[in-house]
Amino acid sequence: MKRMLLLGDEAIAQGALDAGLSGVYAYPGTPSTEITEYIQKVKEARERGVHSDWSANEKTAMEAALGMSYAGKRAMVCMKHVGLNVAADGFVNAGITGANGGLLVLVADDPSMHSSQNEQDSRYYGKFALVPMIEPSNQQETYEAAGHAFALSEKYATPVLVRITTRLAHSRAGVELSDPRAENDLRLPADKRQFVLLPSIARKNYQSLLGKQVAFEEEAENSPFNKYIDAEDRSLGIIACGIGYNYLMENFPEGCPHPVLKLSQYPVPRNHVKRMLDECERVLILEEGAPFVEEQIRGLMDATYNILGRLDGTVPRAGELNPNIVAKSLGREIALTEDKSEIVRPRPPELCPGCPHIDSYNALNQALMELEPGRVFSDIGCYTRGALEPFNAINSCVDMGASITMAKGAADAGLFPAVAVIGDSTFTHSGMTGLLDAIIEDSPITVMIVDNETTGMTGGQTSSARGKLEDICKGLGVPEDHIRVVEPLKKYHDENVAMIKEELYHKGVSVIIERRECIQTAKIARKLAKEVKS
């Protein structure tokens, strides 16, 4: 049997490939990026012609995967948790259309917000869309989850959501591979109206989806990923979801003395839960993320059982789990030997020396110097670090694309000048439609696209904007004399400041494209060029 050392992200990718994947669709986002990058790298995937190019955003990725499923093949779409907000329309409605070829929706959540704006728990989305979910606890299960999810998806013609979290996505462990399965042949849906969500058809599909819920729960009841492990000491029972199970077992290397329900497939299997509630005096619920299972079990009135978890403070309400938090919730706090050092200072990531964003912000700050601060709306990417010292250049970062639309709203309220700073990849992800709104109303905003010609923040993936920005802006209707392209370099500082000032006071939409390649991708390109030569 073949064994590999894989990140959780790589395990789902390899699992999907071995289960006959025909295409992965994704927009980068930590901690999910390495899934698609792995498939792009693997020789076998290239030889098979497995689709793995990046999509413009999570919604286009979700819908393309649904299209591949429509055509009968196995498709996976991957994203970080907030990506599911963008893809939600496609995702929830894919629940109603159902799938044809296996459709795996992989979402990587980021509790504790290691690199995210929030710590939303994707399991709520799975329940909302009424689809089965798998939440593997380790790398081996992550590998196996892919094949299991595809089989489940095809058995019930439904998308299946697989949820992982940062610590699993970015931790490496040994994984045993199974024999690969061939890809599906092209096979269109038997019912040619399955995917037509006209109300009359949607109502029928929805009834059928509701009808499948009992079977979904039975699948969870009998899932190889769920286990009821009985034990002597029933003063406490523990429901351990996903990687919560690992932290529990870390505290009991010799075996847990209490009954444990290891929970890795949803909907919540009520029979297992009922048994635990009936047989144990108290039940502790360990979940990586929000109190998703806990809320369902407590219900609104929270009267009948003795339940411990995030809602009563036994486990902290926010943030990821770890072995110490779990130990404490079990009343077995691990003693520490050394104190926390008092002299350690925070060391946040910074813009690289030579980064083009530095010159863009220096010029923008100077152009805005005479004005009262607080008028720069920005977005998500490396350039968000412009919010911190020494720049203090931006005043918002909310969700991808919100810079342009918030600047427009503020301009509507009378703020002038109002500025949006957005990255090239973020612009094609979700900035273009907002710019169209501004153009239609000729809103007096200045949009600065900081074009480093890559998706820098997530490690330099190809940006859909590459070579297209001027044409996109022109096509959307920005007047050509207000599309300005500059090179953010120290030696052009004065002329760049003058130019920004001109556009700031223009009473309509202007777009300034600050174009200079990311120094990290430029460095890699130079190295590759050298290797090719030698």
Binding site: P31, A173, N322, N324, R347
Partner: protein, 197 residues
């Protein structure tokens, strides 16, 4: 056997190379391994750490519990102090001596070194100096790996084998330099360790 190791440094300093080499040697020995890495937010210039767990029994948690690390191995001294609460009662802290200063409020160097020296089991290594003596300053991370190696419960030959395997792509000269750096770090730690005992 079980070893829980926290690797600490600043983004771009090469802690993942150290993790990869220890991991490679552990897997070759048939041990179980879990290695939690920090990715994304392209942590450039920011603090980075990796949890590396090796055992001959199954490993559950990807994260090392606070209070249970056998070794904190660092490329930057203040960064190792960030994780002191992870140290087990008989845990060691071994780190490169030279501060990497990219923040305005970096603490006084002497205070940092003193706090490390005051720990019951710690070694400060002048990684750059040792590396330059036998190779180039770039092999500093192999000096640090060498300094940590007596505490890993993995034979030195196995670690050298892993260094060879991982650097072989870059040619024999690079492999030799890195092995020389590794040996010099190991010798230094063995001497300091004897001196403290």
């Amino acid at each position: 056997m079980k070893r829980d190791i926290i690797l600490a440094g600043v983004g771009g300093q090469g802690i993942l190379t150290i993790a990869t080499i220890i991991g490679y040697a552990a897997v070759e020995r048939g041990l179980s391994l879990k290695q939690a890495e920090v990715h994304g937010m392209s942590q450039r210039g920011g603090d980075v750490q990796s949890h590396l767990r090796i055992s001959d029994a199954p490993i559950y948690s990807d994260l090392i519990p606070e209070g249970r690390a056998d070794l904190i191995l660092g490329i930057e001294p203040m960064e190792t102090l960030r994780y002191t609460t992870y140290l087990a009662p008989d845990g060691w802290l071994i780190t490169n001596r030279k501060p990497f200063v990219n923040i305005t409020d970096y603490p006084d160097y002497e205070t940092v070194w003193k706090e490390i020296e005051d720990l019951p089991r710690s070694i400060l290594v002048d990684g750059e100096k040792l590396a330059r003596e036998v190779a180039t300053a770039r092999s500093m991370n192999m000096v640090i790996l060498g300094a940590g190696s007596p505490f890993l419960d993995i034979p030195a030959e196995d670690l050298e084998g892993a260094i060879t395997a991982i650097f072989s792509r870059k040619g024999d000269a690079v492999v030799e330099q890195n092995i020389a750096a590794f040996r010099s770090g190991r010798a230094f730690a063995e001497e300091s360790n004897l001196a403290t005992e």
